[in-house]
């Protein structure tokens, strides 16, 4: 019951948190001027109309960083339970954790050696 209450609080929080930013944005509707025109709504650039499609395909480098990040982020989920229980665990758990983190570091070294971490 106690656990459920804690999560109920989070649930209410999620519902309320959107109201805080929504209120002033909606409220300003009554105070601000509404005079749109074509020139005002142009994309902000150097003063000339923007050329070509905006949603371009950009550097692949960002994608590679995202992939390396994903390796770490997924493994991190498994490390947290290990860390919580660590004080009660024995040397075997230390070895297991060491091996796991070593594999994690191995992925980093592999990416490093493959020049995936070079900004090009």
């Amino acid at each position: 019951m106690q656990l459920l209450n804690e999560w109920a609080f989070i649930g209410v929080f999620f519902a309320i948190a959107w109201v805080f930013p929504l209120l002033p944005i909606a409220g300003s509707w009554f105070l601000r001027p509404h005079k749109p025109n074509a020139i005002k709504q142009q994309t902000y650039e150097c003063g000339v109309e923007t050329v070509g499609d905006t949603w371009v395909q950009f550097k692949v480098q960002y994608y590679i960083y995202a992939l390396v990040f994903l390796v770490f982020d997924v493994e991190m989920v498994f490390l947290f339970p290990w860390a919580v229980a660590y004080k009660q665990l024995d040397w075997f758990a230390f070895g297991a954790g060491f091996l796991f983190i070593f594999l994690l570091a191995d992925a980093l070294i592999y990416a490093w050696r493959k020049n995936a971490l070079e900004w090009i």
Binding site: V12, L31, Q41, F58, Y62, F72, V84, F98, W119
Partner: protein, 413 residues
């Protein structure tokens, strides 16, 4: 029950049940009140903090800062908010209207959400989740979504490029941050923020693991987009980055969210590494915890302000290299050394006892501190050797080009 009655909000629920209200409704209403209280605190604080930040920056730059609206210019933020309320809201042509409007709301809401798990005093905590740390990590990562949504929907190339850059930086620095978070979790044996704070009664974790504190602090500087990692904004390159097309209060939401995020990570640093609400006499008068937590938060916050106003901006490749080739390997080593030393001290019977007082914490803390200092010494030595090699190579190259272009001719190709 006695414990509950000391807590105002829980007492309220108990009283309502006693008065004949349905228990579920009473719980919901008291939760509602708690949410409003917890969420309003950062909102009110941020209005003051913007003033603090502007005054601080002004003093460093030998200016006066805001000093016209109200005493000492204290009401400047209120005036700014009122001004933004009356500004026209421009949606650029070709923008994806729905998610364009959604982005500033996400930006602000996610920062407020983090406050749900922050323990203010031994008794007052929004929600003492057993997985508080994971909650913080999860909610904090939504921050990356707001950037992508804002940059993509604006239909502006500057915004899109800024968003790409920001995402790369945010997700990269999340890795050392989460690795550093493992250390308080390991030492407290719990992911609940309240348990982690309580476990620091004898010894703050900053003393046991200063490196974890530093890694957490630096990655949070990057997560909040503060100098020297402020290429999210990069006024001189990307105009404003992902929020370039926003005007009026939507822009204000991004700004307020950013200021609040800085304050929020300062609170988290205080909770996880500086002992949170611990201080003299806090067990007798729990409300004192507010004061201690506030003081510690302010210390971290001022350190962040000082760094923001004195350090120049990194280049994007420097930011990424610093993370992947320094922070991530270092944090992995710190976690491994921490695990090893904790295992050793437990085997030798040096681990702190159940009470966790100062004396019982001392042996383990000393061992861990020495381990951290050893890592620092090794790392500094590696950096120094690397720097020396680089310098010698540069000098050799310069000498070579001097021979090719004698008599002070401009060196180069």
């Amino acid at each position: 029950m006695e414990q509950q009655c000391r807590d105002l909000i829980n007492t309220l629920a108990a009283c309502m049940v006693a008065g004949g209200t349905d228990p579920n409704l009473a719980n919901l209403l008291s939760a509602l009140l708690g949410v409003v209280l917890v969420a309003t605190l950062p909102l009110v604080t941020v209005i003051l903090l913007i003033w603090v930040e502007r005054k601080f920056a002004a003093r460093i730059q030998d200016r006066l800062g805001p000093n016209r609206v109200g005493p000492f210019g204290l009401l400047q933020s209120v005036a700014d908010a009122l001004k933004m309320l009356t500004k026209e809201d421009i949606t650029p042509a070709g923008a994806d209207r729905f998610i364009f409007n959604l982005a500033p709301i996400i930006a602000f809401a996610v920062v407020v959400l983090i406050w749900a798990v922050i323990p203010f005093t031994p008794l007052h905590v929004g929600s003492d989740l057993s997985v508080g740390i994971l909650y913080f990590v999860g909610v904090g990562s939504i921050g990356a979504v707001k950037v992508m949504v804002a940059g993509w929907s604006s239909n502006n190339k500057y915004a899109l490029l800024g968003a790409f850059r920001t995402i790369a930086q945010l997700v990269s620095y999340e890795v050392p941050m989460i690795l550093a978070l493992l250390i308080p979790v390991m030492m407290a044996g719990s992911m609940s923020m309240q348990d982690i704070t309580r476990a620091q009664g004898g010894m703050w974790y900053i003393f046991a693991s200063p490196l974890a504190f530093l890694i957490f602090f630096i990655s949070n500087l990057a997560e909040t987009g503060r100098a020297p990692f402020d290429l999210i904004e990069a006024e001189s390159e990307l105009v404003a980055g992902y929020n370039i097309e926003y005007s009026g209060f939507k822009f204000g939401m991004f700004m307020a969210g950013e200021f609040m995020h800085v304050f929020t990570v300062a609170v988290l640093t205080a909770v996880l590494f500086l002992g949170g609400w611990w201080g003299p006499g806090v067990e007798q008068i729990p409300a004192l915890g507010f004061v201690y937590l506030g003081l510690k938060t302010m210390a971290v916050y001022f350190a962040m302000l000082l760094i923001r106003n004195t350090v120049p901006r990194f280049r994007i490749d420097q930011v990424m290299n610093f993370n992947w080739k320094f922070m991530v390997p270092l944090s992995i080593v710190v976690v491994l050394v921490q695990a090893f030393l904790m295992r050793i001290t437990t085997s030798l019977g040096l681990a702190p006892n159940e009470a966790g007082d100062f004396v019982s914490n001392l042996p383990q803390t000393i061992v861990l501190l020495l381990g951290n200092l050893a890592i620092i010494a090794v790392v500094l030595n590696m950096i120094r050797n690397r720097g020396r090699q680089q310098r010698l190579a540069d000098e050799a190259a310069a000498a070579h080009s001097d021979l090719a272009h004698p008599a002070g001719a401009p060196a180069g190709d």
